[in-house]
Symmetry: C2
Subunit: 142 residues, 2 copies
């Protein structure tokens, strides 16, 4: 079902400072910046590698406020890995397959993700404590 | 410098149960099992995807005891993502490049990692709260 590790979502207090850190330390470059009001984040995608089934990225996430999911995560856990996202060929089919195994979906229908993707989150309590995201990325899979 | 997201290290209480969860939910299969006494873990590598510059894996980590690094992580943070590992072409050169940017290395010399790799950990406080590992995987890069 999984095509790739699509991205690792990392929560940070200061998006620009953390972009600068990843650029300086690892030479990563930003390929997309977005504000996602629905999810309450300002975010940047940094390209790590291409692959036969889509690329891999680091997604840096700065909350738009303390009452957002990422804002609450930062308050309780501090900066660090927020979620892990896997590429899938079809988001609806993947959601159905996962739900059939008994894992709960946070999103009942696909949502808009970074770089024109369709995404859905799975409940971390059902995936060994890892907030897990499925990503269908039509533009990156072609 | 970075060739790929090599693996995501996930701390768990019960390795076999978590392997079974990832197999059932996502269809992932185990390609390697090891006990690393030096790091105090029993671990399994689950294959996610191949790539032009090496594959990507999920690494499940069960501590050998409560006084190990992963045992202490579980006690304070619970199950979840423990570290993120990036593939590099040359571990020594990558360590030098990273150290030159001011990021502290936990390992002053490369250590033995899963599947005959050479690895080094970077200090999470210098990488935005993420325990970060560099991995040179000669067998996987060829």
């Amino acid at each position: 079902m999984l095509l790739r590790i699509d991205h690792i979502g990392i929560a940070c207090h200061d998006l620009e400072a953390t972009i600068a850190l990843y650029q300086k330390t690892f030479g990563l470059t930003v390929v997309s910046r977005e504000v996602n009001e629905e999810q309450g984040v300002r975010e940047a995608m940094l390209h790590v590698a291409d692959g036969e089934t889509g690329g891999s990225y680091i997604q840096l996430l700065e909350p738009l406020g303390p009452d957002t999911p990422v804002g609450k995560f930062l308050a309780s856990r501090g900066e660090g890995v927020h979620h892990v996202a896997y590429g899938v060929a079809g988001i609806t089919e993947a959601m159905e397959e996962v739900a059939a195994t008994g894992v709960r979906l946070i999103d009942k229908a696909p949502r808009h993700g970074s770089m024109n993707t369709s995404i859905a989150f799975l409940h971390p309590k059902d995936v060994g404590g890892v907030l897990t995201e499925l990503v269908q990325a039509p533009e990156r899979d072609s």
